[in-house]
Amino acid sequence: MDPASQLPTLLGLAWLTPLVSFVAILFFGPRMGHHGKNAAWVATAAIVTSLVLSLAAFGTWLAAHPVAAVAHGSHDSGASHAEGHAAGAHGEHDADAGHDADAGHGEHAGHGEHHAARVPVAYSGDWYTLYQGGDLRLSIGWYIDALTVLMFVVVTFIATCIHVYASGYMHDELHDVTDHEVHLSDGGHLHRPGRFPRFFQALSLFCFSMLGILIAGNLAMVFIFWELVGICSWFLIGFYFERKSASTAANKAFIVNRVGDFGMLIGLMALWGALGTLHFADSTVAAPDGSAVTKPGLFSLVRPAATGHALQVPDGMVTFANADEVGRIAAEHAARPSDGADEIASRIDGWRSQGIGRWLLFIAGVGIFCGCVGKSAQFPLFVWLPDAMEGPTPVSALVHSATMVAAGVYLVGRFYPVLTPDVLLVIAITGGITLFIAATIALVANDIKRVLAYSTVSQLGYMMLALGVGGWSAGLFHLVTHAFFKSLLFLCSGSVIHACHTNDMRKMGGLARVMPWTAGTMLVGCLAIIGAGIPFVIGLSGYYSKDAILAQALSYSQANPSWSILFYAVAGGAFLTAFYMFRLWFMTFAGTPRDHHVADHAHESPTVMVAPLVVLSVLAIVAGWTLPGGFGIANLVEQARPAGTDVTSTGGFLFGSLTVPAEHLSHEGAIHVTATLTAFVTAAAGVLLAAAMYLWRMISPTVVAYMFRPVYTFLSHRWYFDELYDAIFVRPAFAVASLASGTDRGVIDKLIDGIAWSARQLAGLDAWIDRNLVDGLVNATATATWNVGLELKKLQTGRLRQYVMFIVVGTVALFVLASMLFRAALAS
């Protein structure tokens, strides 16, 4: 049982299985049973295989690294040091670099005395090198730690539920479909063949791409699968591509994501240009002389063991940012380059203390975060996500819970060791703005899926904010719990839509009687997302993760009083979340039916759709629990905590001095109690207000909307973000495009047309010359020959005696001629 070799194999297979399914359905999908019915089985079998392999990897991991209670601070440095010891022995380095591992371990032990720095267990390596040239090495590799293993299980599990659910939900696609939302020019509706296999094909590719991001061992590979996720989202959001709204939404999601990815490319270039590597962990590469050398990865460059894993601007960035000075020193020592190198090396620390290179690290961090802003739908790029509701509901569930939007948060979590306090503050502010804006929009939305979409945006804001204020495990813990309850909520909404054939909550109501299972499971989801629980005793999964975020935000606010707004944003967001989630539940399931036509046709969904709901709701309840032995998702995430991030750090140059408090400080009594009570009070207030307005009808929503009409209009227009982007990006782009097309039509086309016209005229002249002069000459020659022939013909009389006379006369004439000529010749 060697996890270093077993985990990459298991997770690698789990990663590739959906690819196999994708390829199989791509080529043989339409032949898989009637209308490709069996494609669902192929895709589901693949994802179940992935799940089983992930669970096996999970088991392997737990066997090798049992989850223990979180190690707080230095008082149990013994235990945490032992953990670090294990990491030095068989983590961080490949198994085949054993002596390097020993060396690293020794060095690590030397520093362990005063820092107790805990190094997480992580396995890394490369399967295949795509390209190697100079410093750049692009490879398909793995970086596996507790977070990777956990996310694999979460993603494959949720994807399995969604596959099962979708095989029921998408049954309309099994026969020819008449799309009532597509109006043809002849006034009819679009009638098209079903696309059942195509859906599962894209779903498989989506899972493959997402798992690729999870397992990726370097940023280049992350970027590859990042883009693959983007294209998959385009396929799936635009599944009903004949609908204008769907194709627009798909394009919007794709284009908005490209904006973020541009920032990510800048970040990648900053990292590669200055550091020459994109690998997360140290990697073993072959030196020119054939020996194996350890090339430090991003994590150990930014947080070297020599500083006790405290963050510092890496040497490469210092020299890169100070290239002029470095070049000058090198030129001075041109005679003996080694002296120059020594001189530069001796001055790096001085330059670093002057702050040279910190901008580069800041840009690298913000750049990578830009990509995450796009994928995880953060302000200002969140506009694509609500529109992505145009895809089939299982896609919304997958995109919103476990895959696409999770990718951004996951990458920030993975990349966390490289982020400076300034970058973290940018992340926290972005998250805070996002969660507030999205929550306010969700208050007034009437489309059930849009409410959930904005709640997703808002919860992603929570996660980003948590990561930004130093709550690394809080943010990722919330990512996992949110994956469970948000996929549950989406599948429930899908069930409701399936029954009611409408998205509009104003036409629903009283559905709890006809759809008890859906109503019950959705209630669980709502309670989980608002973080319901009995304070200090027990709660649903959201209770734990949201409390952790609140506590960390509070801890950050106390350490940086000027940024205490972040805590209020979280607390206010918790209130708003509770309000809009229960507004949704009350409007949909409670009270009496508002539209009897809808209510009469509503029915409970089939078992294949309800079963995933029940499974997910159980997980939405228990996912946050920590078992008495210490086993729990929070502690498992904690196991992967990046080295050096478990202590309070200070820094910051852009926003003044910043303190990022250690996360374990947020578990201290005063902060923890305050945070828990705040969460409980705000959530309870939100639920009560929602109940007062929509259940007991003590306050009329219409009156409230009327009283705050400007605010209501502002919110129901989604803060006019779409209009704003339309005005400042889309319209100028169209203006430029129409200018360009005008130039094209008016100038370039005219020019080309003119050239073509003159060429045609010239050709006409040429043709005239050809027909009249050249052909005339040839024809005249032919005519002359013809006429001469006609004349000569008369000589052939057919009279033999005449011929003989010709011969005789001709011969005599020749003789006479010859004799005369000879006379003349002789005379001369």
């Binding site: 013909k793 000589l795 009279r799 033999l800 003989v804």
Partner: protein
């Protein structure tokens, strides 16, 4: 002898002057050959009967044969019996041979012509005129 020759009108033509008085040599044969040739050509030109034309052809060919033989004979050239010099005789034999073959072909054509037109009048053979 020379006087006699000079009295004939033939001898008044400058080209033939001295022929009758000179010993028999190549020139005399050439004259005979020319007469034969001319008689053959005239025969070809004047006869309407195809057989007559064929006969004229034979005369033309044999006129040429006389020339060959005459040029070939060393006695006639006045060079004594120095060599056997049979070239002309052999060419004459070839000509005779060819004349026989030609006559066979020509007679066959004539026969066929007769079969088709019931005549051997070559003035009637103008089917191929232009």
């Amino acid at each position: 002898m020379s006087h006699l020759a000079a009295g004939l009108p033939f001898a008044s033509v400058p080209l033939f002057a001295g022929l009758l008085s000179a010993p028999v040599g190549v020139a005399h044969y050439l004259v005979v050959g020319a007469i034969l040739f001319t008689a053959g050509v005239v025969c070809m030109a004047l006869k309407r009967n195809a057989l007559g034309v064929l006969m004229g052809i034979e005369l033309v060919l044999n006129g040429a044969n006389v020339n060959f033989v005459a040029f070939s004979s060393p006695y006639l050239r006045g060079e004594g019996a120095a060599s056997l010099g049979l070239d002309g005789q052999i060419i004459a034999l070839f000509v005779i041979l060819l004349a026989a073959a030609e006559a066979a072909v020509a007679l066959a054509i004539t026969l066929n012509f007769y079969n088709n037109h019931a005549t051997v009048d070559i003035d009637r053979a103008e089917d191929l005129k232009g």
